[in-house]
């Protein structure tokens, strides 16, 4: 898989791991900034996409740390606007995916990304339990995780009225299979889905120590 792309990306640095797992070479980026220019969230990111790539290019441990602890990687919506317009076709979305997983594994998740991570986890919890997403369950779990108990409470009745809230979790979906899938895949890294109790970033850090 690796080696097919340019750049001396051997070694243990973050960019090397990116190359190994995604086959994307950060060295191919020549910093034109087109991705940052087109990224819908660049304004709200701590490091806009091209800036992030630059940090990776230098391959300094300090910068790698900052990348993994950045909010950007969690804000990224994988809308793919960047790669669609990138003159060098650097696969940023794949890189972002990898960085998120890496940041999670190493317990570097940016505190500001707490909600986003919590949402992703609640989502997966819900899917693991019922095989399909149960929106009500998802929101409930999410609120538990983040304690944003009052968010959207006003929306709920409206949705109810429009028959958009489905209280009962879906039945009969291939629960067991999905459970197995979760089991096998998260065996690879246990940090992916966790019981409700844990509030995330801290927990990860503990796991590390």
């Amino acid at each position: 898989m690796s080696g097919s792309r340019s750049g001396s990306l051997d070694g243990s640095g973050l960019s090397a791991r990116i190359h190994h797992f995604t086959n994307e070479s950060v060295l191919e980026c020549y910093q034109c900034g087109k991705c940052s220019a087109g990224c819908p969230l660049a304004r709200d990111m701590d490091f806009p996409p091209s800036y992030l790539l630059r940090m990776l290019q230098l391959g300094m441990p300090v910068l790698d740390e900052q990348v993994l602890a950045s909010l950007s990687i969690w804000l990224c919506l994988t809308c793919e606007a960047c790669v669609a317009r990138c003159p060098k076709e650097v696969g940023l979305p794949r890189i972002m995916d990898f960085l998120r997983q890496e940041s999670l594994k190493l317990g570097k998740v940016n505190p500001k990304a707490k909600e986003i991570l919590a949402f992703h986890r609640s989502f997966l919890d819900s899917v693991r339990r019922t095989g399909r997403l149960h929106e009500v369950g998802l929101i409930a779990r999410y609120k538990m995780r983040t304690l944003h108990l009052l968010q959207d409470v006003l929306a709920a009745p409206k949705m109810m009225a429009r028959g958009k809230l489905r209280l009962m979790p879906p039945r009969g979906a291939g629960k067991s299979d999905v459970r197995k899938i979760f089991h096998r895949t998260s065996a690879a890294d246990p940090t992916v889905t966790q019981p409700l109790s844990s509030s995330d970033p801290q927990r990860c850090r503990e796991e590390q120590s």
Binding site: Y30, Q31, C32, G33, K34, C35, S36, A37, G38, C39, A42, R43, F47, P48, P49, S50, Y51, R54, A81, R85, C86, P87, K88, E89
Partner: protein, 663 residues
Amino acid sequence: MARIGVFVCHCGENIASTVDTAEVVCASAQIPGVVLSIDYKYMCSDPGQNLIREAIGDRHLTGVVVAACSPRMHEPTFRRACADAGLNPYRCEMANIREHCSWVHDKSSDATAKAVDLVRMRVEKVKRNCSLFPIKVPVTKSALVIGGGIAGIQASLDIANAGHKVILVERDPSIGGHMAQLSETFPTLDCSQCILTPRMVEVAQNPNITLYTYSEVESLTGFIGNFKVRIRKRARGVDEKLCTGCGVCTQKCTSRKIPSEFNTGLGHRNAMYVPFPQAVPNKPVIDRSRCTYYLKGKCKLCEKICPAKAVRLDQEDQIVEADVGAVVVATGYDVKGADFFPEYGYGKFPDVITGLQFERLASASGPTLGKIKRPSDGKTPETVVFIACAGSRDPAKGIAYCSKICCMYTAKHAMLYRHKVHEGKAYVFYMDIRAGGKMYEEFVRRAIEEDEVRYVRGRVSRVYERNGILVVNGVDTLLGARPLEIEADLVVLASAMVAQKDAESLAQKLRISYDRDRFLSEAHPKLRPVEMNTAGIFVAGACQAPKDIPETVAQASGAASKVIGLFSRDELSREPVVARVGRNAAPLFSSCMGCFLCESACPYQAIEREEIRSRDGSLLKTVARVNEGVCQGCGTCVALCRSKSIDLDGFSHEQVFAELLAV
């Protein structure tokens, strides 16, 4: 009987310290056919060479082997020495016992043994060398220049002024090329037409130059010094001799409002037109694809009103043939449109234009007479955004290479805009500024510091329209890649420089090679920058790679001087190392059975087809023949030939085998 002399050189200590030269001398003396074998401290020195000269005289040598350094070093020296003494230089060979022996091995019997082997191989080869004589080919002292842009103009003038005939072929109705379209030129900002048009007139007036405009090269055959060219003179619809260029027809022409190529679609022309006022020749052409007469069969107004009665609606294409000794290819470049960039909205928004279009807007002779007005509503833009690298350095959508001139012309555009619209704001989005060249960097700095052009380092992601205003989504990577949104009235894309659409077909016509971007490739990227790998064909200007005007002109003069150098001799003499096809007595005539594998293999198209006919003229067989004027002596055909009918002088089968058997 072969009488070979072997001359072993010590090269001071260089050889003698590792190789036992005395031993080599003795051993060589034993080789059958060797009548003389001596050594000397410095063979290449005068006394050394004299040894050889005398030996040739006294011992009637038929071949000489000098065991010394690399033939790449002193072969010419020793061959000259032999020639002086009346021995055909190609009967002298060198055994490389320095670079390939004494310098790479330690002093040992092995080294000496190797030296002896090398000598023996040479001796066996040289026994079979035969006298070769430089190949002489005549030279037609007339040059063909393809393309009438600044490169072609410069080359033609240089050659013509050196007193040689030139045929200049231009595809468009007028010479001048892209340079005629430009407004001012960087870094001096002198008006392009002011410096170009005098040259164009010179071309028209120079008695040595025959100018064919609205014409194309149909085919080119032959070889260096002896090309034959067929030129298609497309029907102008006008008798150039009679036409006075009064221009009545062009004004009265009824098929109007045709987007003008010269004004990059920003202006209009009629079907009967002269591309631009300073055109050379200043004679109109009829665009038959648009002319009412050719479309509907009636009108003929031009014919009626022409005071000189010069209009010829029934005129047909002519084929002109000519002999030329050299060819200069100066077909120039094409501008890559920007429509492959949907995110920049070129072609969708009228106010997103290419660099060349901006040149026309800025040009005093342009559709707006030099006033910067935007195409959509003719309003003077208050904010202009220039986007560099719009196509260049973009392997994904555009082209991978750098177009080289965009940095400079973008700076120039921004500068011109600021000069013409004082209160206007100019932004330039760039990735790098490549301003290598005399006064180039200074020029860019001037744009930034004095004309206050706002350079933003970053690429634009997209351009869209918000109630009538263009919104440019850019970024400033120097501000931590912060996105910028700029509202612009006009967006100028620094469009890339690409090879002409038909570059490939031309290259195939001329049998010259081109690279993956369809630019013509020179014979050597550093040492032979104006020669093509086909002898006698030279290249000038942007058809070889993106270039600015100074470089183009320099290369054009370079090509011209090469041509003049070629014409300075009445005949060419070439190394006689060429392939040739064996011929036999009837009824075989030749062992060649005409499979023409060689033809497909030859990189120089040196293989011709020769018909062997009986007395009554009936065709007996078609065999290959090597054109020794074209052959470069690589020998690929020799190795490929099934019947072993082709052999290579200087490296013939027998020579190679002899060498081999001597190991």
